[in-house]
């Protein structure tokens, strides 16, 4: 276990609130989008971009950069907000999410947005894409790391298991995948829609190095990333135990907010909660 400066953790926790506020703001303005899965994914994405990955917003195509692929493309508001706060494009651009003539499409497109590595939105592609990036890294003897985030429901897709087998076969130890394990997908609880448990055993049996953490705990996130980066011979999976809608009380564990944006009242309530949390962390 590493000992982090308390300041780093505090700074990340505070940034996560800023990102959550952006997400709520963006979805309210766009009057469409996916709050639940965006909010549950925030903390890992913040940790990657603000504390862990080697990346440079001024040189988004740097061949040596670490890569993050958001396979669960519907959570892209969280990633857009992180990219903007990292300087890939202006924070002001966020207000154009899902608007006509905007580069910020409802689901990410790599050819439109600096910092977006892969076009996603149709579930199940991202792990395969990440395998390709990891294979290229091995071929070029480049030391970069590849990270990819899937939704838990997303792992219903057969292609995920094709990719899981291939990553293990090719010993892609430069690859770390995350499952945003919030236990909810559109039609309900993941275990009722199409059972995923034991997710840990399934991935282990495919030859993956598997860890499981609280996906909202920055210290656990950083520890897990440092551990999986150094793991050799197998691809790594971090199961992020998360809460869908995390950070906004009435959205938490509420599947009704999978693909429905907040109305005006909900928006005001959400911002009030996040503002008071922000104040608390700043204080």
């Amino acid at each position: 276990m590493e000992h982090y400066d308390r300041k780093i953790i505090d700074r990340l926790d505070l940034m996560a609130v800023t990102i959550r506020k952006h997400v709520i703001e963006m979805l309210y303005r766009a009057k469409s989008g996916h709050p639940g899965g965006s909010l549950s994914a925030v903390d890992m994405i913040v940790a990657l971009y603000f504390a862990h990955m080697n990346h440079n917003s001024k040189n988004p195509n740097d061949p040596d950069r670490d890569r993050f692929i958001l396979s669960k493309g519907h959570a892209v508001p969280a990633l857009y907000a992180v990219l903007a706060e990292s300087g890939y494009f202006s924070v002001d651009e966020l207000k154009n999410l899902r608007e006509i003539n905007s580069m910020l499409q409802g689901h990410p497109v790599c050819s439109y947005v600096p910092g977006i590595e892969a076009s996603t939105g149709s579930l199940g592609h991202g792990l395969s894409f990440a395998n390709g990036v990891a294979l290229a890294g091995k071929l070029d003897e480049n030391e970069y790391n590849v990270y990819v985030m899937m939704g838990d429901g997303e792992t219903n897709e057969g292609q995920v298991w094709e990719a899981a087998a291939a990553a293990s076969h090719y010993k892609l130890d430069n690859l770390t995948a995350f499952i945003d394990r919030n236990f909810l997908q559109i039609d309900g609880n993941t275990e009722e829609v199409m059972r995923l448990e034991s997710a840990r055993d399934r991935w282990s049996s495919f030859g993956w190095h598997v860890t499981e953490i609280d996906g909202h705990n920055m210290k656990q996130i950083l520890d897990a990333l440092n551990e999986t980066d150094n793991h050799k011979r197998h691809p790594s999976l971090i199961i992020l135990n998360t809460v869908k809608g995390k950070g906004v009380s009435f959205m938490e564990n509420n599947v009704d907010f999978h693909g429905v944006p907040p109305n005006e009242m909900e928006y005001n309530m959400a911002m009030e909660e996040l503002n008071s949390l922000q104040k608390k962390l700043e204080g």
Binding site: P63, S119, G124, H125, S128, F129, G132, L135, L139, A166
Partner: protein, 311 residues
């Protein structure tokens, strides 16, 4: 005779030396698609993906995002319909520099039957924005097309057949071909036959037979179905006034469909007929028997041309 599949494998090996960033993926069919030639020469740049085509296509996109030039190969039936969504999002929408090279296109696959006879692939790929669609006709042209796929950017799909085929062109003749430019194989004034892929060779024979009967047919090898050489199509329509298309593919949405669209939109008063598979699945059988039964050989081209121009 030569097999275009061998030309594909040999060209990959040749290009592999020149382009260290060229990589090849296959889905457990490398012996049939001939990517095995590349695999033997450059094992570190060959990725066997097993029977998992969806994963192969998306992985190829990931490799391309790192500056590689991936060629992904399998049979046409698995290379398109089975992985349409992966091609749509990861290649076409993303403008990834991935080359899908499919073998075993069309009904001349033969005895495996309709499950393996891909007759919709050109239509499926043609409708995708950003996608280039190619159907080379002989081994020589196949080699040149593979080279052009490697040296031109963007997502591309090429399909060839399974069988050996006569060599139509010598090497110098194909050296000047360009993607998106049809080849005028023979000039003629009475009718234009526009063929692609495996139908170019029987069209050459048909032209000779027609000539003996006093019909002088122009013959175009339209190796690029998208972007279509519309200028050439319009020119031919104006010059001969009669166009017949021939492809080992459904009459819907492929070469014939593309040319019909061009003719109609340019209000060209031309006699027109599409030869291809008439909106049905075919069956197991010897390739030559299938091509006879489903109307795709020299004899049928001759008959259709004469019907069309009323002679």
């Amino acid at each position: 005779m030569a097999n275009p599949r061998n030309a594909y494998g040999e060209t990959l090996v040749k290009l592999g030396e020149k382009y260290p960033n060229l990589v090849v993926l296959d889905a457990d069919l490398s012996k049939s698609t001939k990517t095995i030639m590349f695999a033997k020469k450059y094992p570190e740049r060959f990725f066997e993906m097993g029977i998992a085509e969806a994963n192969m296509i998306s992985t190829a996109a990931g490799l391309a995002s790192c500056g590689k030039i991936p060629f992904a190969s399998t049979f046409a039936v698995f290379a398109t319909g089975r992985v349409y969504d992966q091609i749509r999002i990861d290649l076409a929408y993303s403008q990834a520099n991935v080359k899908i090279f499919a073998t075993h296109g069309g009904i001349s696959v033969g005895k495996d039957g309709a499950s393996h006879q891909m007759i919709e692939d050109i239509a499926l790929m043609r409708v995708l924005p950003n996608m280039t669609v190619l159907a080379p006709s002989d081994a020589t042209q196949t080699g040149k097309i593979v080279e052009l796929m490697a040296t031109n950017k963007g997502p591309m799909y090429a399909r060839i057949g399974r069988a050996n085929a006569p060599i139509i062109y010598d090497k110098d003749y194909v050296e000047s071909i360009e993607l998106g430019k049809g080849m005028i194989v023979e000039d003629g004034s009475d009718v234009t036959i526009i063929a692609c892929g495996t139908m170019v060779d029987p069209a050459i024979d048909a032209r000779k037979t027609l000539l003996k009967q006093g019909i002088n047919a122009q013959l175009i090898d339209m190796h690029t179905i998208k972007p279509l050489d519309e200028k050439l199509v319009i020119k031919c329509a104006k010059e001969t006034g009669a166009i017949i298309t021939a492809e080992e593919h459904s009459i819907i949405g492929g070469l014939g469909g593309a040319i019909a669209e061009t003719l109609a939109e340019n209000s060209l008063p031309v006699k027109f007929r599409r030869m291809g598979i008439k909106d049905r699945f075919c069956e197991s059988g010897e390739p030559k028997d299938l091509l006879e039964k489903y109307g795709l050989n020299e004899k049928h081209i001759v008959k259709n041309v004469k019907d069309l121009i009323g002679r």
